[in-house]
């Protein structure tokens, strides 16, 4: 079965070539994943800080807006979103969204390398499975990159 989520004529008009190369999609997904990782950490810190504050709509988490961590998380979410838009302009959503899960490799590895947190064996197995899944996807992704580069 072939990956045919690739549009017959990739959407390369109206924009500079560099932004639409396959490499551009990889960079955009990585940038989006890195900022999303930082954002997730900030949001969790902000949510924990404001969890006990009273609110009219407690299930909406609006009290989180009182935390600077949540605002930092919002800024990072916006940056991640801009990079994400660049990625999905080029590649199919099903492929891009799966690749964006590289965030689950960055997050524990970042905590391990920077904060010195331990990674359990089960988590190592999970990280390995995510990497394996991304490697499986890398082949159709490379094919798509070739098609995009040819279209330029």
């Amino acid at each position: 079965m072939e990956l045919t989520a690739i549009p017959e004529k990739p959407e390369v008009k109206n924009l500079p070539a560099a932004r639409h190369s396959g490499r551009g999609a990889v960079v955009a997904i990585l940038a989006s994943a890195l900022t999303a990782t930082a954002s997730e950490i900030c949001l969790k810190l902000g949510a924990a800080e404001t969890a006990s504050r009273p609110s009219i709509l407690p299930w909406l988490g609006l009290t989180g807006l009182e935390s600077k961590w949540v605002w930092a998380g919002i800024v990072l979410t916006i940056l991640s979103f801009v990079a994400w838009i660049r990625a999905i302009r080029i590649i199919p959503l099903s492929l891009a969204f799966t690749c964006s899960n590289v965030v689950h490799v960055f997050m524990p590895l970042g905590c391990w390398l920077i904060l010195g947190e331990a990674i359990s064996p089960r988590r190592w197995v999970g990280i390995s499975l995510v990497i394996l899944g991304l490697l499986v996807i890398a082949r159709p992704f490379a094919k798509l990159n070739e098609k995009l580069d040819e279209a330029l």
């Binding site: 988590r123 995510v130 996807i137």
Partner: protein, 114 residues
Amino acid sequence: MTALLIVLSLVTIVAGQLLLKAAMNKLGEFAKGDPRRRQAWWIFAGSIFSMTISFFVNIGLLQKLELSYLFPFQDLSVILIAVCSAYFLKERLSATLITGILLVTAGVILVSAS
């Protein structure tokens, strides 16, 4: 209530991503100045609205639940988005891509749950 909010968070994130991709497809389809691009901007606005709901529901859930409890549910969004992309956006999924999606989802659930 918690289960309902988890479902709402999932539905709004999936809808938001699908609408965003649909808007990007439409923007690529029509040249600048074409009035049909306006429709794409409305779809884009719908996607932002949907993702904003998801964002705040998510913060609300994070205030009550552990990240490790919440993540496995969120991780289902990978499969849901792939299935919905195939159905609504007519993206065809290859066996390789499906294998990759299942491996990534299994891995992510293990990472989140540990």
